[in-house]
């Protein structure tokens, strides 16, 4: 455990040692604000909730999370530090987990820094803070799933640009799977079971259902499983790539 913790601390600190952290946080806060107020019609809706704020999170994450995850393993491989890291007395799992948790904690920090919008909505009206809390949880879980995918793809290449693009595409496909447009297309010919399966794979479906304030165990399990599977894949990919 001490190995995971040491790696976690090192990684988290390294985000703040480079401009990555600050650029990410500033852009995340600016964009989430702009989307909420201009595109989401925060005031015009006349409702005291953060629906317009959370609705844009999947799309923000689509570009910002891969920017965080792309360096996770690609840089390690490029600079050769992977050889240092994986010959220290830590298991591959501890390293994968430590790195992932650090990136996740970093996004959690960015998410926490959006608190002014929560203050605003509480000042303006009387929102259901339970729903807001659930939405924050859903948002964090979704970010975790994006990160786990990015971790795996980052492990597969030493080129960060490739890691970024492939992660965006993969996450985009997983988001799209729940889009009404896509589901309608499948509904036209596919049996309902298949349509449900496709919708069931989608980030959006699960994120939206948590966002309604109903914290269904199945949605949580979906994201946790998603994270676990992609992290497992990360470890497998690193092991395979090491030999080459």
């Amino acid at each position: 455990m001490s190995g995971t913790l040491a790696i976690f601390k090192r990684e988290l600190r390294s985000y703040f040692a480079t401009p990555v952290a600050y650029v990410f946080i500033v852009i995340f806060l600016m964009l989430s604000g702009a989307f909420t107020f201009y595109l989401g019609g925060f005031y015009e809706r006349g409702q005291a909730d953060l629906q317009p704020f959370f609705n844009f999170h999947p799309w923000l994450y689509l570009f910002l999370v891969p920017a965080v995850s792309m360096r996770m393993w690609a840089e390690e491989r490029k600079s050769g530090t992977i050889e240092l890291l994986l010959t220290l007395p830590v298991t591959l799992w501890q390293a994968v987990l430590g790195k992932f948790l650090a990136a996740w904690a970093f996004i959690a920090i960015a998410l926490v820094l959006t608190f002014p919008i929560w203050l605003t909505v509480n000042y303006l009206g009387d929102p259901d803070n339970g729903v807001i809390l659930a939405s924050y949880l859903g948002s964090l879980l979704m970010a975790g799933a994006f990160l786990a995918i990015g971790s795996c793809i980052s492990a597969a290449t030493r080129n960060q640009v490739i890691a970024f693009i492939l992660t965006v595409v993969t996450c985009f496909l997983l988001l799209l799977a729940g889009f009404p447009m896509v589901l309608d297309f499948f509904r036209a010919f596919a049996p309902q079971g298949l349509v449900d399966a496709i919708a069931g794979l989608s980030f959006l479906t699960h994120f939206a259902s948590i966002g309604k304030g109903v914290v269904d165990l199945r949605d949580i399990i979906y994201f946790v499983l998603m994270i676990a599977v992609w992290l497992y894949a990360t470890a497998v990919v690193i092991d395979m790539k090491k030999a080459a």
Partner: protein, 313 residues
Amino acid sequence: MIETRNLTKRYGSFTAVDGISFRVEPGQVLGFLGPNGAGKSTTMKMIAGFLAPTSGSASVAGFDVESQPMEARRVLGYLPEGAPSYGEMSVREFLGFVADVRGLDGTRREQRFDDVVGRLHLERVLEQPIDTLSKGFRRRVGLAASIIHDPEVLILDEPTDGLDPNQKQEVRALINSMARDKTIVISTHLLEEVHAVCTRAIIIAAGRVLADATPGELEARSRYHQAVSLTAGNLQEAKEALARVADIASIEVDPQDNRITAFPKPGRSIFVPVNDALKAGNVDVRELALEAGRLDEVFRTITQSAVGTEART
């Protein structure tokens, strides 16, 4: 102690390391020699537990690197080729990180930290990001990280590569100072380094061990071993004098500086007879030396014949 048994690594049809077996005891400094691509780094990576062997096994201080990887890694210090480190961290943070992962704490942590910083003269750069350091300092930071837990077994992949002569000297002194109670393996392609630090040398090429001996024994394989070289005022006179020595097998003259080298017949010692003959012939000798043998020549002979057979098969 390090032991490998038939250690082999294959990539598809290419065999990078081909059944290497050796054993290194505490107190020994083993030099791993070989041309580029001979399999030195691959062998070291397998012992360090980074790469899994295709077949065969390796153990570090009695722990098998595959079945007891954590135990083996705990007693091992490993400097990967190029001494990689996290560039955005300061030297203090980086060494602190390695100490944390290795579970050092309390006074021992402080003690070890001060010890390696002192040994590698890192005091001045402790707060600097590693990215901003010179190559020599970066290598020293890597070395410091590899010995921070005072390991029993040390594997250093080209520890002096890219250092200037003074820095090389310092690193060699460091290795010598640790050699007494540790098991150390270093890889290098500098033959002078073998003399300076190694008690034993293994020459590998094309993934196979071609020689395993002390530096002295290797030199004895050289055709220069026991040869006598001299420079004389009059080349012709010197040659005539040498022609009278019965045990000389052949004589070569360096066309550049007219240095004469006389090679003895196998098993004969010619230094005294040569000296006598030169005196008797009244030759004006400017310099006379007994050769110990040339490692570079032995190295070339051994590795090139191996590459030759490889090309034929």
